[in-house]
């Protein structure tokens, strides 16, 4: 059974549609990420699941029970807020114990559970510390501990790593994933960082303009984006107009390429995605397309090379081999590097 289900959920704020017909099923113990640019409705979706907003239309189910009008304090889920929202008048121990105290748990049990949580988030010995004396990363861990100590079935995380620096963020991503697997809790995670989404999730829900664009595993949405928005938002890519001549044959840049996609109409106008790392630079005579190198930028792991082909289209290519400005090169694109997407209406 799905632990959380949204059926036809929409939300209007003052004449503006924030969410349109959201249908989403989340399975137990799954790590699901809602991914999209700011204003796409991902946080609103999370807040509807958490009970902080009511859907204008549609229903929210928790383990098969409709919970539309259940207030947050009666839902069996907890939230890690964007800016942590730790109580400044309480110390670390009291913050983590807050939910257990509300439930009137025995002080002995509370002490035991808080100690376990502090150990889980690697902050043993911080019990008496004031919240404002902690660093951002430490506050983040306390916020996670405070939510997890209530033993929720689902943990909602609203851009929890947004305020941390890159290195710390990467560490926390791995730690969160580890925690989720260790505790066997469903995580619903909101972020605008596509790399974060790909790193941690079992499934990613890509959203834009209040609508779900695609739901799939990280590999699915990266390798087989359903439309231009997803292709553009997830990773980098060269997106071109093309025509699907028949199954396994696509025409773009006035050339016919073999590909591995099928199921489109004959001569259907489509969009073609080629990831920059899937293009090989070869000698001009061996390439399927020919062009001139316009710029080369060193990015650490690879070079980012811009090539202008004979019809004037710019290609972005990631390669570990250097190329020279102004050099004539050939581009080789293999069938499995070509991803065909339905044309946006």
């Amino acid at each position: 059974m799905n632990i959380i289900e949204l059926k036809g959920v929409s939300k209007r704020f003052a004449e503006k549609d924030a969410l349109v017909d959201i249908n989403l099923s989340i399975r137990p113990k799954e790590f699901v990420t809602l991914l999209g640019p700011s204003g796409c409705g991902k946080t609103t979706t999370l807040r509807i699941i958490g009970g902080f907003e009511q859907p204008t239309n549609g229903d929210v189910y928790f383990e098969g029970r409709r919970i539309n009008h259940l207030p947050p304090y009666q839902r069996q889920l907890n939230t890690v807020f964007q800016k942590y929202a730790l109580f400044p008048h309480l110390n670390v121990y009291e913050n983590i114990a807050f939910g257990l105290n509300i439930k009137k748990a025995a002080q002995k049990d509370i002490a035991k559970k808080v100690a376990y949580m502090l150990q889980l988030v690697n902050l043993e010995g911080f019990e008496k510390r004031k919240i404002h004396s902690l660093s951002g990363g430490q506050q983040q861990r306390i916020a996670i501990a405070r939510a997890l100590v209530c033993e929720p079935k689902v943990l909602l995380l609203d851009e929890p790593l947004g305020a941390l620096d890159l290195k710390l963020r990467k560490e926390m991503q791995l730690e969160l994933k580890k925690m989720q697997q260790q505790l066997g809790i469903t995580f619903i995670y909101v972020t605008h960082d596509q790399e974060e989404a790909l790193t941690m999730s079992d499934r990613v829900v890509v959203m834009s303009d209040g609508e779900i664009q695609q739901i799939g595993t990280p590999e699915d949405i990266y390798n087989e984006p359903v439309n231009q928005f997803v292709a553009d938002f997830i990773g980098e890519g060269n997106i071109l107009k093309g025509i699907m001549l028949e199954d396994y044959r696509v025409k773009f840049e006035e050339q016919i390429f073999p590909c591995i996609d099928k199921g489109f109409g004959n001569n259907e106008a489509v969009e073609v995605l080629v990831r920059p790392e899937d293009i090989q630079i070869v000698d001009p005579e061996r390439g399927m397309l020919r062009g001139i190198v316009e710029s080369v930028v060193f990015k650490g792991v690879h070079y980012e090379i811009m090539v202008r082909d004979e019809s004037g289209t710019h290609w972005m290519i990631h390669s570990i081999h250097m190329a020279k400005n102004g050099e004539a090169v050939g581009l080789k694109i293999l069938p499995d590097a070509i991803h065909i997407m339905k044309k946006a209406v």
Partner: protein
């Protein structure tokens, strides 16, 4: 450091209008009095010793009781008001605050006289009640402790509401959501999060109401009709009627010290924030 000269006006102001007058009062309070009431600069404790007579201690007690009562009433009335204003949306807020502050723009004396008109034997309230047949004889409303209390609460209530409002309106809403998320009902959210975090505002409000309430003499003069002598009236009488500046000064110094001690105690709690709870 170059901007030091900017502090000169402030320093002069503080010197002329705060430091020197308080020093003078402190000096007078230790001076003797000639038979005709002039100040004689010989050191004496007499002015302080005299305050320990039961009649004056009684005045002190009455002043403190009335001030504490009015502070408590202001808190009980003011906190829900502040909460209400802070919870309403931005557009309504400024109107509510305006309505609240508007009476402060009229003169303090006028506002207090207005209460006399309302509370008199032939005043609006009594006539209204008689017209309705609820009472036959006018109630004695004016010149009672109750009238003084009413005047204090009426005049000082904004000083309780505004600091509490200021704290509540800055309260991070996600803290309330976090508490709800952790299972707290509305009442629990208030008791465990909103109220503890608003304590600095409550303390400011308490100080700002208690100080003028304990030292007022106009309210007790007009609404108490001289029946209720408070510390403020006592000081006023010593300076203007009894021409005993020395005794008036010693009472002033006692009152200032009292307020300073209160502020020091409350200030400590304010710094520690919610530690009190």
């Amino acid at each position: 450091m170059r901007k030091k000269w900017l502090a000169i006006p402030y320093a002069l102001w503080a010197l002329i209008f705060s430091v020197i007058p308080i020093l003078l009062i402190a000096i007078y309070s230790f001076c003797s009095r000639s038979p005709y009431g002039n100040i004689v600069y010989t050191f004496t404790w007499d002015n302080y010793r005299r305050f320990l007579e039961p009649i004056y201690l009684n005045v002190l007690w009455r002043s403190v009781v009335l001030a504490v009562q009015s502070t408590i009433i202001c808190f009980l009335l003011g906190y829900p008001m502040a909460l209400l204003i802070a919870r309403s949306d931005i557009k309504k807020r400024s109107l509510m605050i305006l309505l609240f502050i508007l009476p402060l723009w009229t003169n303090f004396l006028l506002r207090t006289y207005a209460w006399m008109v309302l509370l008199r034997d032939q005043g609006v309230i009594n006539q209204f009640l008689i017209a309705l047949g609820i009472i036959e004889e006018p109630l004695k409303l004016l010149y009672t402790n109750g009238a003084v209390l009413l005047g204090m609460v009426y005049n000082f209530l904004p000083f309780m509401v505004l600091p509490i409002y200021a704290v509540l309106s800055k309260l991070d809403h996600s803290l309330i959501e976090a508490a709800e998320d952790l299972g707290a009902t509305s009442l629990e959210v208030f008791m465990k999060v909103i109220f503890p975090l608003s304590i600095p505002g409550v303390i400011s409000g308490t100080i700002m109401v208690f100080m003028p309430a304990v030292s007022t003499f106009i309210i007790s003069d007009l609404l108490g009709g001289g029946q209720t002598i408070l510390l403020g009236n006592l000081i006023q009488n010593q300076f203007l009627v009894a021409r005993n500046w020395q005794f008036g000064s010693s009472i002033s110094i006692i009152m200032i010290s009292m307020i300073l001690v209160c502020m020091a105690i409350m200030g400590r709690y304010r710094e520690e924030g919610g530690e009190l709870w």
